[in-house]
């Protein structure tokens, strides 16, 4: 985003914001989907991400890339969502089963390949999962990931390494 577009974005220009949404809707959706493992929630969170980005546009200082800023908004929303979900699960198992049908093995909404992704990626700890999705599926630099997740660059690399190893082990285990 050039400085002119950035200025228009600050001013709340609808056209600039529409362009921004078009550019990042898919990668951020994938990120959110990888994080929450549910199309409906990912869609809601994506919408929330853009609403928040627009309303808080003046807080974007421009010291990072706009995609980094958008990912960090999405990441925080996903993290809160997962926290809320784990609390709900803890409080009421029956309710969580109703609320999150993707956990149901017989769910017809999610096909086998989709399940495969979540059999692997969703087993990763939250931070490893975030790092892995952002690196593998979005090709972000570790420096950017570190900025998004508020961790060090070294930590981002380590998390990615361990995530890879865990996923390889899970695939190996499945073969046996």
């Amino acid at each position: 985003m050039d400085s002119q577009a950035l200025r228009k974005f600050y001013e709340g220009d609808a056209q600039v914001f529409n362009t921004l949404m078009r550019e990042y809707q898919q990668p951020i959706y994938y990120y959110l989907y990888g994080m929450v493992g549910n199309a409906e929630d990912a869609q809601d969170l994506l919408q929330e991400t853009f609403v928040k980005a627009y309303t808080k546009r003046k807080s974007f200082r421009g010291d990072a890339q706009i995609q980094t800023w958008l990912y960090s908004i999405a990441g925080n929303l996903a993290k809160n969502h997962l926290r809320w979900r784990s609390i709900r699960r803890f409080v009421n198992v029956e309710e969580s089963e109703h609320l999150f049908p993707e956990d149901d093995a017989n769910s017809t909404e999610i096909d086998e390949m989709e399940q495969e992704l979540f059999r692997y990626v969703r087993q990763l700890p939250e931070r490893q999962r975030s790092v892995f999705i952002l690196k593998y599926f979005h090709g972000l630099q570790h420096q950017e990931i570190a900025h998004i997740l508020d961790i060090s660059e070294g930590s981002s690399k380590t998390n990615f390494h361990y995530a890879t190893k865990t996923l390889q082990e899970l695939i190996e285990e499945e073969k046996r």
Partner: protein, 190 residues
């Protein structure tokens, strides 16, 4: 493990961390093609990549155009809510604040007026008494009262501060009889 294999794997893992693009990585070093163990090592990465890429393709995409419209409509609703918010917030915040301020002012006023009432009531009743019970004295009467008071004061001063002899001398100039009375009283050491 052979040093060559060790070096290959270490480099591979390092590069994978920075750029997990398998095609690029495998084209950089073809040691794995001639080494069975390293080929197996590479295969675990190939399998992981294949599965993940396939999984990504399977992710159902939403209707993004509709999603963007939803974003705008939510923003519009938010703006409307914000326009109403001050109207709601102002009375909700300012009314109790105004009540508190008024209460403080009233409390202070009554506390002060309570003190004033005490002082005022004393003065008031004193005035009422004087008005109700006495005729205002004339100027002459006031002068007489003053003279009388002055004389009494002088007398009292003299009595308190002078000896019987002085009193005797004083009274002897005024009234001889009184001088005698006082002299007899002094003799009796009364």
């Amino acid at each position: 493990m052979k040093p060559l294999c060790h070096q290959f794997r270490a480099n591979f893992e390092k590069q994978w961390i920075d750029n997990p693009d398998l095609e690029t990585l495998l084209s950089k070093d073809d040691h794995w093609r001639s080494c069975g163990e390293c080929e197996q090592f590479v295969q675990s990465y190939q399998e992981l990549s294949t599965r993940l890429d396939r999984s990504k393709e399977a992710i159902p995409l939403p209707d993004f155009a509709e999603l963007r419209m939803n974003v705008w409509s939510e923003l519009e609703q938010k703006e409307q809510r914000q326009a109403w918010l001050p109207r709601l917030v102002k009375p909700v915040v300012f009314a109790p604040a105004a009540v508190v301020v008024i209460a403080i002012i009233l409390f202070g006023f009554f506390q002060q007026s309570g003190n004033y009432t005490l002082d005022f009531s004393n003065e008031y009743f004193a005035t009422v008494d004087s008005v109700a019970t006495a005729d205002y004295p004339s100027e002459q009467e006031l002068q007489d009262m003053f003279d009388s008071e002055f004389e009494n004061s002088v007398d009292n001063y003299i009595i308190e501060n002078t000896s019987y002899t002085t009193i005797e001398q004083y009274f002897s100039n005024i009234n001889e009889d009184w001088s005698q009375v006082l002299a007899s009283l002094a003799d009796q050491q009364i």
